[in-house]
Symmetry: C2
């Protein structure tokens, strides 16, 4: 989808490893690097005072996180925690700036990366405002499949180790509603799950959202982009 | 807050004028330029099939919109409509790319611009998932004041021509709830409004959100950034 891949323009950096459940950054120790996942997965979330978590995204291989460090003087309330043993490379804002000065294509690539995140976030804001909860769960599954899933030979997208609670934290609803909605989608043949593996029929979910749209719901834009 | 101001690095472009209520782009005629507001204001929103609008943001002087055009092959569901007579400058993706190649600082500046939008959007996603509706209205007022308000000598921020319906479209709630919540905030002395002018006591609203936070709500991050 993007013309410019940031990975092409970044110098290799030392690989750091984080054990499962270890904190990479948090508000009291905010991100001071732009991170790239080499292997594993990282959960990026907000945590409210009462412990309510909102899952912002799950970053997996070849995806970035910690981009708030590129903005001077900004305090971020993000938490980043390794969901499994995770290897990352990291660059300081000064290193990124220096590299962009030498190779402006990195700048273009990171603009596209941030702009594509903006689209996904805008779609979530619109979905939360306009879509029914069930439709939001379907949209969340599509977005999570796109960001962390792997295509299977059967044409579905497989997601490993995604709990119903995580989906609820992402969609902004309760685990009970996610479980009930996923049962409904499973009975309709749109997804299958067992032993920590979730297989999503992306095309079927997109079709479902299109039908919802014609029944008066929102029109998620990143779906069109992925067709 | 940002170190690099994109305006410093962009060449002057021809000024275009849009009359009040004219469409600058929409899904059938998507943005093919990055736009900068010279004067006036532009409403950026999603429109669902049944007419439900989600207000993504209101861009005013010296702010950009249409950045989805910087991502190849992306279809955007955004609508952009002039709220009043509005003058803009615009650059094609090729012009932006060419300029970044010659001056990498423009790349850095646009990364920061997009990253700051990401923070605001993430905060809205978290707020919609975790905050009570009343608190979301207060957060929306702060974000709208930051993006389109002007500081007054009295220490408040003045917003012109913002309807309760627009605030509702932004917060993802109904106009009735916004009106009731704004009456509550007015009685508490946190805002005043008359004849299309809304004066917001930003510090009081931030304090209110902090108190909510200690009662178990989310901790909006762009607030801290603006202190």
């Amino acid at each position: 989808m993007t013309r410019h891949d940031p990975l092409v323009y970044l110098p290799r950096a030392r690989v750091q490893e984080f054990k499962k459940d270890s904190m990479i950054y948090e508000p009291n120790r905010p991100a001071d690097h732009l991170y790239l996942v080499i292997s594993g997965r990282v959960r990026i979330y907000y945590c409210a005072y009462d412990g309510t978590q909102t899952l912002l995204r799950i970053t997996s291989t070849e995806q970035f996180f910690g981009e708030a460090c590129l903005m001077t003087g900004t305090l971020s309330e993000e938490h980043a925690i390794a969901m499994e043993t995770t290897q990352v490379m990291a660059w300081t804002p000064a290193e990124i700036e220096d590299r962009i000065q030498r190779d402006p294509m990195l700048g273009l690539a990171l603009i596209e990366y941030c702009a594509s995140h903006n689209l996904i976030l805008q779609e979530r804001v619109a979905a939360m405002a306009a879509l029914k909860t069930g439709t939001r769960v379907a949209l969340s599954l599509i977005q999570l499949a796109d960001s962390m899933g792997k295509a299977t030979p059967e044409g579905t997208i497989r997601i490993r180790g995604l709990t119903h609670q995580s989906i609820a934290d992402y969609a902004g609803t309760s685990r009970e509603i996610v479980t009930s909605e996923m049962n409904r989608l499973r009975r309709a043949g749109h997804l299958a799950y067992s032993r920590g593996l979730l297989d999503v029929s992306r095309a079927a979910l997109v079709e479902l959202l299109r039908q919802e749209q014609f029944r008066g719901d929102g029109a998620p834009q990143t779906l069109a982009a992925k067709q």
